[in-house]
């Protein structure tokens, strides 16, 4: 009976598993193999010689790659920390308010659901030009005297990039944290209040510790996404000015499909994969515990 069930199970799993192996895992192995070769589609006469780890050595010495790595890190830290702080604040507010939840849920979901390219272009438009809405608003509020040309230097070009990401994904973080908050037993707050704990101490010693798993999940989820950032920057700044906002996925894409350096681009792909996979392992371990726990 059990052997029969196992056979049926594998039969059901197999089509999906084969698809994943064929279209995801096999290419991944191929990327790694490709990264050990010199393969430049612009110079087909060079052939495709095996060059060992040379591409990786080149990557480490490539200032544009190191720059891209730095931009990705900066983007991840800046956007994810803003999203967590604002998201937590919103989740606490949502947890208290009973009126207008439907409206709030709609406001939360729509930015999340639209294509990232579209949100990038909406923000580009608002920051565009001397008389765009952002410049006009800041000038008329007296915060700046002259309109800022946002996209000609890195320091200001990052502002719309990070704001667009925060705008699009903070609602999602808030939803995750709200689900965590709703799992907290309210009698704990009553007990704390009877013991004379202030609102801050209730937050510090009841809410935060019990919310830690949800915060961790949101953190890892968002960090992974931030490390893979591509669409947003491609459509908002194109990595510019120059390559000063170019993240690692965009540089890899350019190496592959603009410069047609397939060997070198594959080495960059492998590096992106290793970094995100290390992060993902933490997440899988975390969710794995939840899965075994959830079995009835």
């Amino acid at each position: 009976m059990e052997a029969q069930e196992a056979r049926l199970a594998w039969g059901l799993v197999l089509p999906a598993l084969l698809t994943i192996l064929l279209i995801a895992l096999f290419p991944l192995v191929w990327t790694f193999w490709e990264s050990l070769h010199l393969h430049d589609l612009r110079m087909p006469w060079l052939g495709r010689p095996f060059i060992g780890l040379t591409n990786y050595v080149d990557a480490v010495r490539d200032p544009r790659f190191i720059g891209a790595l730095g931009h990705t890190l900066f983007f991840a830290v800046a956007s994810v920390s803003l999203e967590l702080v604002i998201g937590l604040w919103l989740a606490l507010a949502l947890n208290r308010a009973f009126k207008g939840r439907g409206l709030v849920r709609a406001a939360v979901l729509v930015p999340w659901a639209i294509p990232t390219v579209v949100s990038a272009l909406l923000w580009r438009f608002m920051f565009e030009g001397q008389t765009g809405i952002v410049n006009a608003g800041l000038v008329s509020a007296g915060i700046i005297h002259e309109p800022i040309v946002w996209f000609i230097q890195a320091a200001t070009a990052w502002v719309p990039v990070i704001l667009a990401d925060v705008w699009k994904t903070t609602p999602f973080v808030a939803l995750l944290l709200l689900a965590g908050l709703q799992n907290i037993d309210t009698s704990l707050y009553e007990a704390a209040r009877i013991d004379g704990a202030s609102a801050w101490r209730q937050f510090r010693y009841v809410t935060l510790p019990l919310l830690k798993p949800a915060i961790l999940v949101a953190l890892i989820f968002r960090t992974l996404d931030a490390f893979r950032v591509f669409d947003l920057v491609y459509a908002l700044t194109g990595g510019g000015p120059g390559t000063s906002t170019e993240p690692i996925a965009l540089y890899t894409f350019n190496a592959l499909l603009q410069n047609l350096q397939f060997g070198y681009g594959s080495a960059l792909s492998v590096i992106v994969f290793v970094v995100t996979f290390a992060l993902a392992m933490v997440y899988v371990r975390f969710l794995g515990a939840d899965l075994t726990g959830a079995r009835r």
């Binding site: 069930e5 196992a6 049926l8 594998w10 059901l12 799993v13 089509p15 999906a16 698809t19 290419p27 991944l28 191929w30 990327t31 919103l90 606490l92 507010a93 208290r96 709030v104 979901l109 729509v110 659901a113 639209i114 294509p115 990232t116 390219v117 579209v118 272009l121 909406l122 438009f125 608002m126 565009e128 030009g129 008389t131 809405i133 006009a136 705008w167 609602p171 939803l175 995750l176 709200l178 689900a179 965590g180 798993p213 949800a214 999940v217 989820f221 893979r228 669409d231 491609y234 459509a235 996925a249 894409f253 592959l256 499909l257 992106v272 994969f273 995100t276 899988v284 969710l287 939840d290």
Partner: protein, 272 residues
């Protein structure tokens, strides 16, 4: 007690205004003549025209990317929900060795960066002559859509009481019949939510669609919009009109099914 009540209201008002404003501004701009777009913004609608929408569907043939996106996202969703539901049922309900490892593997594949498979997929699709074709997009889309559907469906199947199919099996039905006749009808809302989410992810996908298409005849909506910028000028009116058109279907879907989508999104992720 009362003096602290203002801040949640403030936070939620800010949230709604901040979420909605960029949309309001884009919709307004998409009806504004190009010449007026950067002549000092005004928050209230002034002179409104349909020029950009007209240009979008006449000069730009914007219905082509819409058709492409519908075909690609629709096929991806149909295949992944079909095949994924079998896999998810086994993972949620049957006992077999290696199940947890398999779940972990599928989740891990769902997380890995798309860019890390662009180069082999490009060479594979090129050698199969599938660059710039529908299958050349649908196949790569399985990389993210299959793990997503399996993952969501495992969550939905687990919520159904096991007694129902056990009763059906006591009455002599086989596992597969119990699945088809008892579980699938009950899981229909979950299947619908999964299908919607998979469709939205596929509709929004950008990197593969940019990498594996060559010209306007197979570009999807996000790629078409991103490549609107001309050499010398940016047709903002048309870009924003296209943004409104591209956003409308997913917005309507998500608003219609918002309660279920929130459940689906947060069910797997939270619960420490």
């Amino acid at each position: 007690m009362n003096e602290r009540k203002w801040w949640p209201v403030l936070a939620l008002t800010l949230l709604v205004v901040a979420s909605a404003f960029p949309f309001y501004w884009a919709i307004l701009a998409s009806f504004t003549p190009e010449a007026r777009l950067f002549q000092g913004p005004s928050l209230v609608p002034g002179h409104l025209v349909l020029d950009h929408y007209r240009a979008l569907f006449t000069q730009r043939n914007f219905w082509v990317p819409i058709r492409n996106s519908l075909i690609v996202a629709g096929s991806t969703t149909a295949f992944c929900v079909g095949v994924g539901s079998l896999c998810a049922y086994a993972l949620a309900r049957l006992q077999f060795r290696g199940k947890l490892a398999l779940l972990g593997f599928i989740l891990a594949v769902g997380m890995f960066p798309q860019i890390s498979v662009v180069s082999p997929l490009y060479m594979l699709l090129r050698s199969l002559r599938l660059i710039n074709t529908y299958p050349g997009l649908i196949l790569p889309y399985f990389t993210f859509a299959m793990p997503l559907t399996v993952w969501l469906l495992v969550g939905f199947f687990r919520q159904l009481p096991a007694e129902l199919e056990e009763a059906a099996m006591v009455d002599g039905a086989s596992r597969l019949r119990a699945f088809a006749e008892v579980i699938v009808p009950l899981a229909l809302p979950g299947l619908a939510t999964t299908a919607i989410l998979t469709f939205v992810y596929s509709w929004n996908e950008f990197l593969f669609a940019l990498s594996f298409t060559l010209g306007p005849e197979r570009q999807t909506v996000p790629v078409a919009i991103a490549l609107f910028r001309g050499m010398y000028q940016v047709p903002w009116g048309q870009i924003l009109a296209a943004a409104v058109v591209a956003t409308a279907p997913v917005t309507l879907l998500v608003l219609a099914f918002q309660r279920r989508i929130v459940q689906g999104l947060t069910a797997g992720a939270v619960k420490g």
